[in-house]
Symmetry: C2
Subunit: 726 residues, 2 copies
DNA sequence: CAGGCATGCCTG
DNA sequence: CAGGCATGCCTG
């Protein structure tokens, strides 16, 4: 059996349930296909029954944008409502709710550049038949959607029917196969709705309040409300007081209804309910076990759980009571019975909670609060507030409203000094296409520290992942060998300059790398932080002395050899495959156990190379110099024009030189000051070639196929390092 | 209704299901209480029905250790089996399997110091009655436990019955209320078992293999096998080939059975099954939808799913087939249908998969592999391998087998230089009770950078969280105000010393803090990195200009005022509560909007204080000094004796002084070297009071109640800062 | 109650 | 396919 579906949807993901839905729709029903435009295929879904291969990639979109909608409402006054954009009313009209005093309430869910790609559920688009108007809405605060052509869009990345026999075995690059199992909401027998999410005080001046305004909360506070975000952060299963106020007393038997609604347009029609894990019916009441929101009252009979007959929305109502004497607010206690992150339930989708003051189904007032149910309300609140603030300031600085995230180009053009060290502090995105950040630092010391760390990280970008991984493995091995070496870590700089560099006092007779710095080393003039991408001094560490064997002091390296020999012969040879697979075949595992094979790729790296360094001591009488540090980079600048081409990088170098106190100017120093130090700054101009193509994903196979090749490429990256003294 | 249970268990956690179990056991059944020793209460479980308060803390232990067990086996030769430690055979003997050729197979699940505290399920301890031997075991490879007194221990941290009306509202320090819903395994009608997990080649030389040995795998590889860990990392719902080999052909109709078993002793009796989310019965077969492990064969009839009649273990069998001609191995395709992290299922508990070669229920061979079902097999494999390697080397260095993690004491004694900067590189744990780390750094430059970062982080420990949070908010506010200010970040140090400190070119007419350093500032001699816990120069930033309003250039601070005034009057006053709640009441939120109230707590912090600094310039003619940096800490040492008491901390200070080039020794420098710099190191002895009690959780309320109080305590922490020149 | 890890998953 | 975020939860 082989089927082919050719869609063109916009780029969203299909989850497991959507896939099932889609597969049933392969025999198309008119109501579904009415809203789908079939275009030339982008991807092909091929299913081979019973075999091991199965992949699906398709993009989905609908021709209709989120249309406005209208429904009944009992009040004409509704100052909070916006008039929806009714430009695209589709065919499948639902006339059920178009009674007299209808109002428009299409909230303008603007995808303001912060949105990612979200999954949604196809099932809601399944039965587009209109419902007879005799079915009365039970929740008047719910606005029923008239058209089902909400902006749906699907982009498959999860081809697996989880419970089927499909398999992604031989597809080496398939997306995460467990991406299904999301959003099992909206039972297909109900009709989706979009509740209004507009604040509306109404004639009784209905207000909501979350107690004392706070500026922050402990990380794991039970709940905390952010005024800035109008968002409640609350732990799951925690009773959270919500306070309501009416300036004018509402009629008797008025109720307060709470219903959760997904915030984003892709999900707004989904019914919010508990995830399967938390829905376990160990509950007396079936309804209650499914409801996300619970209310707590002294008497259970005061709490009513309802499920919308039409849309299946789960809500809870309590009677509105006047505040206690002397109190301004009426407090209702709510509990949220899932996490916002619950898989198969809310699934990290932002949530709104709509509180409505109602009388006999009429909405008297409405208050909408975003709610995040999480484990660390305090942490997450601070995080979101900071994010919003920085985003607001970034977009403010750019002077633009919509600041769509400019995609980062490849990292070869990221050598500018203006760079993010911490996160998300975007500023001045107006000049050029490279996103830039300014980190403000109080205090020169801290500034220089962080700048150096930044530079190190920048330079690390020019190392391949293999290099870094090899470095780490090397460190681990060295560590294992030097376990018995208790290094004295405190030092001062009063040591004699004639003293030879101390070797670490280690029981290991064969230190693997002779140029290793330890904290007891006095200043050997070796620069590990070189600027022209010198290789790290490391072994690729496939010389694995496997630690399933008791790690004795075995030395993988001959002490007299260079660092990059493969001395360990203890690992059995598993295969004769080449070390780095070059064929791009399906396998993901890189074989090891190749110790007996020659490694020409690594023979280029030798100790001499790693000890090459520059010296700025020119002109200082050597008799004065006690010791000199390696070079450090003080600042770098580069042209920020992104993309391929040539770029000029300016690097300020610094070398600190300690002078002997017997110099002629030593008399200037008091007896306490034993050290004299001089720093000279120099400026280098580096010309950097920024060639996009060499870093594209298509090249990754090749890049990681050969460590040598990687090095060569690195050397090509920064060429003509010309020093230019100031 | 109020019930009190007084137990004394060892420290493990109770999850939701355990709590339910426990609550049904409040009317104790003999079989349960037989194995529980009731001791004087440590904690009290009090339940107030329908009210808002409910907390439970109890510790649980059993008097019996994990006992050995025995069962039948059809072969006498069993080289892989260890003889279990049968020292503690308990009362509830299960004689069902004690047939002729029994063997012992108590795997010595050693808690080798890496263990944390784990949850488990009480239900398995519920029916300890023996089962008549007439009930024949369907899975002979399963070894049935004879005693139910496995080392169970429970420590409640999750008092909430999630679906009940319990509430933790007014308990400010309760643990995460959603910690329930874990481990819904082991249906109570089955009897727990401990399958053997010992490799056993058997007479047919049964072996397992995972293809080419690899040294690593891409982060999101579909599956990868670590030889070092004997562990398979595999994505969920991905077909993974497993290869089997028998040197001698086994009999016809031999089968290969795969069953998953929890690795840890606390969970080993739990049946491994799919989580509720993934168990959704959209499957034709009920069994298959529950089974974690599936096998894939060309013909479905070749795969058999079984559930143990006794223990409820879910397993899958396929017929063993000879390898294809020319092939060494027979390949069976398996799929794992949950993640190891699945809440309500495996729940992050390590997993073993036991593959047995069987013939008519007789075990002919057994191979056991740890399995982790995760989303990033490659990443997680590398991570675990690195962790094991470093742990092995660390324990090797200590020379001890059992290296129980020494608990960190409070952080007041963590000022020693030997400290972890990266992670988990434990070395030399032998001298003293303070855990120490050595970070080896290649290259002096990098070493000094990281050391400074380390020191900064150390010193940051002495700032309260409020201080840090306030600092960040201040940064955000400053950032918002300076969005239009494009700071030039490159600088050299050739500026004239007579030049006044530049202010940042900002459109904001009122910079909030006058002592803010920006990267364009030349060296004002203000030390932000002070050592005696001087306050950060920051506003507490409750002067919130809420960013829900469009962030204009409003200035919360009068430009001429000190940093700590509350200038913003725009926020409505919400309450008259004191700024920092001192009462330790239920709320976690810290109110803000107190701008109109005087803030005595903050009046201690003023600009003068924050600009206090020490200077090491003594003795240098001021005519030579062009500019001087603030003090930085070069190294610190302290006595590492933990616990309360007094400790001596040694701090090496450094100040860099730039000299004018018109000094008499300027002739020594060449024209390129425009700057002269001098560094003097000094040594201070700080006497630190390390008072445990002031940092216990019980004090936290008070500590965070008052920022002023916090500062005072900080000042008490490091007293008598005596400078002592070398 | 904060630090920080663990781990799924989104993005480029 | 790697970087890195998001977010529950463990530890001290
Ligand atoms: Zn849930
Ligand atoms: Zn699962």
């Amino acid at each position: 059996m082989r089927q082919t579906i050719n869609f063109h949807f916009s780029s969203f993901k299909l989850d497991h349930f959507q896939m099932q839905e889609l597969q049933t729709l392969v025999s198309p029903s008119e109501s579904f296909w009415n809203d789908i435009t079939v275009v030339p295929p982008l991807f092909t879904f091929s299913e081979t029954e019973g075999a091991l291969e199965n992949s699906l990639q398709l993009d989905v979109f609908s021709t209709n944008e989120l249309s406005g909608f209208s429904t009944n409402q009992t009040e004409t006054q509704n100052p909070g409502e916006e008039s929806g954009n009714l430009n695209t009313i589709s065919t499948a009209q639902n006339v059920q709710n178009s009674e007299e005093n209808g109002y428009q309430c299409a909230p303008t869910y603007s995808n303001n550049g912060l949105m990612r790609t979200y999954s949604t559920d196809l099932s809601q688009h399944n039965n587009v038949t209109s419902i007879p108007s005799s079915l009365v809405v039970t929740q008047p605060n719910m606005v029923h959607q008239q058209t089902h052509t909400t902006p749906m869009g699907y982009h498959s990345s999860s081809p697996n029917n989880v419970d089927g026999t499909n398999s992604t075995h031989s597809s080496p690059y398939t997306p995460s196969p467990n991406a299904g199992y999301e959003y099992p909401t909206s039972p297909p027998t109900t009709k989706p709705s979009i509740p209004s999410s507009t604040d509306y005080a109404g004639e009784f001046d209905f207000h909501i309040n979350f107690g004392e305004a706070t500026e922050s909360a402990p990380k794991s506070a039970q709940y905390t409300y952010s005024h800035q975000l109008n968002k409640l952060f609350v732990k799951m299963n925690v009773t959270c007081p919500v306070r309501f106020k009416c300036s004018r007393p509402p009629p008797m038997n008025s109720v307060i209804r709470a219903v959760a609604v997904f915030k984003r347009p892709e999900h707004v029609t989904d019914v919010v309910t508990r995830c399967p894990n938390h829905r376990i019916p160990d509950e007396a009441s079936y309804i209650q076990s499914r409801h996300l929101i619970r209310a707590e009252m002294p008497n259970d009979s005061q709490v009513h759980y309802e499920v919308g007959q039409q849309d299946g929305r789960e809500s809870v109502t309590v009677f509105y009571e006047r505040p206690q004497v002397g109190a301004e607010y009426t407090t209702v206690l709510y509990k949220f019975m899932c996490l916002s992150s619950c898989v198969g339930g809310i699934n990290r989708r932002p949530l709104l909670t709509v509180f409505t003051l109602e009388l006999d189904g009429q909405v008297l007032g409405r208050r909408v609060v975003e709610v995040r149910i999480c484990s660390c309300p305090g942490r997450d609140r601070s995080q979101e507030e900071r994010k919003q603030r920085s985003h607001a300031s970034a977009s403010n600085a750019g002077g633009q409203e919509n600041c769509p995230k400019r995609p980062f180009k490849n990292f070869q053009s990221t050598m500018e000094i203006i760079q993010n060290v911490t996160k998300k502090r975007k500023v001045s995105p107006s000049n050029g296409e490279q996103e830039e950040f300014v980190l403000k630092i109080r205090g020169r010391e801290k500034y220089e520290i962080i700048r150096k760390v930044k530079e190190a990280l920048d330079l690390m970008d020019h190392l391949s992942n293999e290099q870094i991984a090899a470095y780490r493995r090397k460190e681990d091995e060295d560590q294992a060998k030097q376990d018995d070496c208790h290094v004295v870590t405190t030092q001062d700089h009063t040591g004699n300059s004639a003293q030879a560099p101390q070797q670490v006092n280690t029981n290991d007779p064969a230190p693997a790398v002779s140029s290793v710095f330890t904290v007891t080393d006095p200043l050997p003039p070796v620069t590990a932080t070189t600027i022209d991408n010198e290789p790290f001094s490391m072994t690729p560490s496939h010389s694995s002395h496997p630690l399933t064997v008791t790690p004795t002091g075995e030395s993988p390296c001959d002490p007299s050899a260079t660092c990059f020999s493969y001395a360990s012969q203890q690992q059995p040879v598993f295969s004769s495959q080449s070390f780095w697979p070059q064929d791009g075949s399906t396998g993901f595992d890189v074989p090891d156990g190749q110790e007996n094979k020659p490694q020409p790729a690594l023979e280029r790296q030798n100790t001499t190379d790693s000890q090459r360094f520059m010296n700025l001591l020119n002109g200082i009488p050597s008799s004065l110099v006690r010791e000199a540090s390696g070079l450090s980079t003080t600042s770098t600048t580069s042209s920020i024009k992104p993309g391929p081409g040539r770029h000029v990088t300016r690097v300020m170098l610094r070398q600190t030189i300690s002078l002997n106190r017997d110099a002629e100017f030593a008399k200037l120093w008091k007896e306490e000051n034993k050290e004299t130090c001089s720093t000279s700054d120099q400026l280098c101009n580096f010309v950097t070639t920024n060639d996009d193509s060499s870093w594209l994903p298509g090249n990754i196979k090749t890049e990681r196929g050969d460590e040598c090749q990687e090095m060569v490429q690195q050397n090509n990256t920064i060429d003509t390092p010309t020093l230019e003294f100031l």
